[in-house]
């Protein structure tokens, strides 16, 4: 099963290689890894997506916790969470029909054109994996020049009191 693991680490030189080295050294698989800063500049946030049965995931979490620079490990898969990824997609748009088709698709997906030349558009899209795959599939016939993706980041949904949930107060984007 796929697991999304969120890791808070000391923002220090070499920490990324300690984490990635742990995965490669112990034969755990990494499908995705992304790193960024947090509110506290001394702490970084990593999101790792991995596969494994319960025993392997238990080992991964314990081994991560054992790393001296790791502050906290959370398996988001045990919770309700939100995953996002951003992609930048550069497409050929030499013909004017292609340009209007591209704009139409961009609008449907609530994506944005962030750069434009007479022969290309660069489209920025944020969403979950399905959404990104879907827009890529629709843009493909136009001719994709290049795609760059951030990798996934994830966050747990805030716990809500049962009553609030019943009243339908949760707004899901």
């Amino acid at each position: 099963m796929q697991h999304i693991i969120s890791i808070l680490v000391e923002n220090k030189f070499g920490v990324l290689s300690r984490v990635s080295g742990l995965f490669s050294g112990r034969g755990f698989n990494i499908e995705n890894i992304s790193v960024g800063t947090t509110l506290d500049p001394s702490v970084s946030q990593m999101t790792v997506i991995t596969q494994g049965d319960d025993r392997i995931i238990e080992q991964i979490i314990k081994q991560l916790n054992k790393l001296i620079d790791v502050i906290k490990v959370v398996d988001l898969s045990e919770k309700d969470y939100i995953v996002r990824e951003t992609a930048l997609i550069k497409i050929h748009t030499s013909r004017s029909e292609d340009r209007s088709e591209a704009l139409r698709i961009t609008e449907i997906f609530r994506a944005r054109v962030v750069d434009s030349t007479p022969t290309t558009y660069t489209i920025e899209i944020t969403g979950d994996e399905n959404k990104i795959e879907a827009i890529i599939n629709l843009l493909r016939p136009l001719g994709i020049k290049e795609i760059v993706r951030t990798g996934k980041i994830a966050i747990a949904r805030e716990e809500m009191k049962a009553a609030a949930i019943q009243e339908g107060k949760r707004i899901r984007a």
Binding site: F13, G14, G21, Q59, K62, Q63, I68
Partner: protein, 590 residues
Amino acid sequence: MMKMIGAEILIESLKKEGVDTLFGIPGGVVLQIFDALYNEKGLRFILTRHEQGAAHAADGYARATGRPGVALVTSGPGATNTVTGIANAHMDSIPLVVITGQVATRMIGNDAFQEADIVGITRPCTKYNFLVKDVNDLAMTIKEAFYIARTGRPGPVLIDIPKDVSGARTDFAYPEKVSLRSYNPTYYGNKWQIKQAAQAIARAKRPVIYAGGGVILSNASGELKELAEFNRIPVTLTLMGLGGFPGTHPLFLGMLGMHGTYTANMTVHHSDLVIAIGSRFDDRVTGKVTEFAPKAGFIHIDIDPTNIRKNIHVDIPIVGYVWNVLFELNKDLKASQEDRDQWIRERGPWYEQIKEWEKEHPLAYKKNSKGIKPQYVIEKLYELTGGDAIVATDVGQHQMWVAQYFKFDKPRTILSSGGLGTMGFGFPAAIGAQVACPDKLVFNVAGDGSFQMNVQELATAVINHLPVKVAVINNGYLGMVRQWQELFFNRHYSGSVLDGTPDYVKLAEAYGAVGMRAKSPSEVEGVIKEAIRVKRPVVMDFVVDPEENVFPMVPAGGANSEMVFGEVSKEEKEKVGGKKKEKKGSVLPA
């Protein structure tokens, strides 16, 4: 506050940590540090002849005392030469602090002369490592390094210090306290889990304790003995655990695993409760893991949560410092003192059964009046020292014979490379132990192959007046490899013949040590006695039966309940394996 340069800060900080000895070799980028050491009275520097020797010596020092061993080496090749020693300590959870010089900070990454990314290289084989980029961080880094090395599950820590950092000047005050928000080992076992364990022990009809190096590392042999004696539970130990429970104790079953005793393996195999203490279910211990103690429930006490459920399902895991957990567990069990006699009575058949196994296949070898049997040498060593010695081993058959035939009653008396299985460990480790314990009798039982891997340290022993006694079990082979080739590869002794072995007596003498040789059983005792008598480093060359094998044995991948005893006689083997014996040339010194 005092102004000091980095090199002086390093020395002062080491002294604050209670360090009294450094093992190592100087070089370009650590000259500043060696200069600071020049007139230093509080620190002894032992110049080894190879950096691997320095790392193993620091390791031996640590194993013998429980205090972190410290090595100091130069950048590049000096640093890379310590890697085997570091990996070795890492596998066996030995506290080391290895200080490496590094090229100047502005040169790092430029392929500078003698530059190696030692922090990158040792990342997977240290508990933690540091590159110090600013002299103002140096004191705190040293504080953290020692703290990490000796707490939790101990291990090696490396500090890489660039040349300009050891030369830079700053205010020095050694930090009083250290705390790392991301490093908080669990010391106290969960009370409820400990209660569960006590109840499981009370219920068990066929319990066994399987303890390992964690008992030694947490100085818990007293608590282990109490647990075993009070509840009358038989004990088996791993190689790393030997000495953690008295080898002469009636409840001791011997080592378990691949070359463990039949009794230990059968007891574990048939038990209904395995109490694992500071041991990690290594594959050399479990054999075929699905058939390891198939009818048992498992209690597992370990400081490292990753060890729990790594290889085997555990029913009652307890994460904590072994000493603390056993202390609590013993308290809980004491509470049911009246019931205790009842359990012990109910376990009668279990104790009987164990005695049967002991009678069925005790440890044994065929005695021989002509050639020396290696096991006989170990038995004699035990007998003539009364067991009162530190024995460092190398890796191979001789190591297993030591584990089988030397009865270790006290912790920190066997120093052996368990996890990594590093040939060449024994001699420098013995040197480190002798430095730490000048009044103890220190032996290195060496293989003729292993000894040659760090034989250069004879110079270190001689020049520092370290009277280490090396007993070379000279079988003319990389014996453990040869054994496997004999048993499983049609006696194809491919790459395992040690032709060209030097004359160990002359070699010892060339270094200024004492050399002695025994070629027949009647000479063994005299050689050992004389070695103990002379207060100098000694190399004893025991020319032993070249094709003796270590038995019993669990063939790789087999279940521990299926041990092989090797009752096949030599003649019979020749019938099976072909009459032609490999020509051995000048293996044995004439």
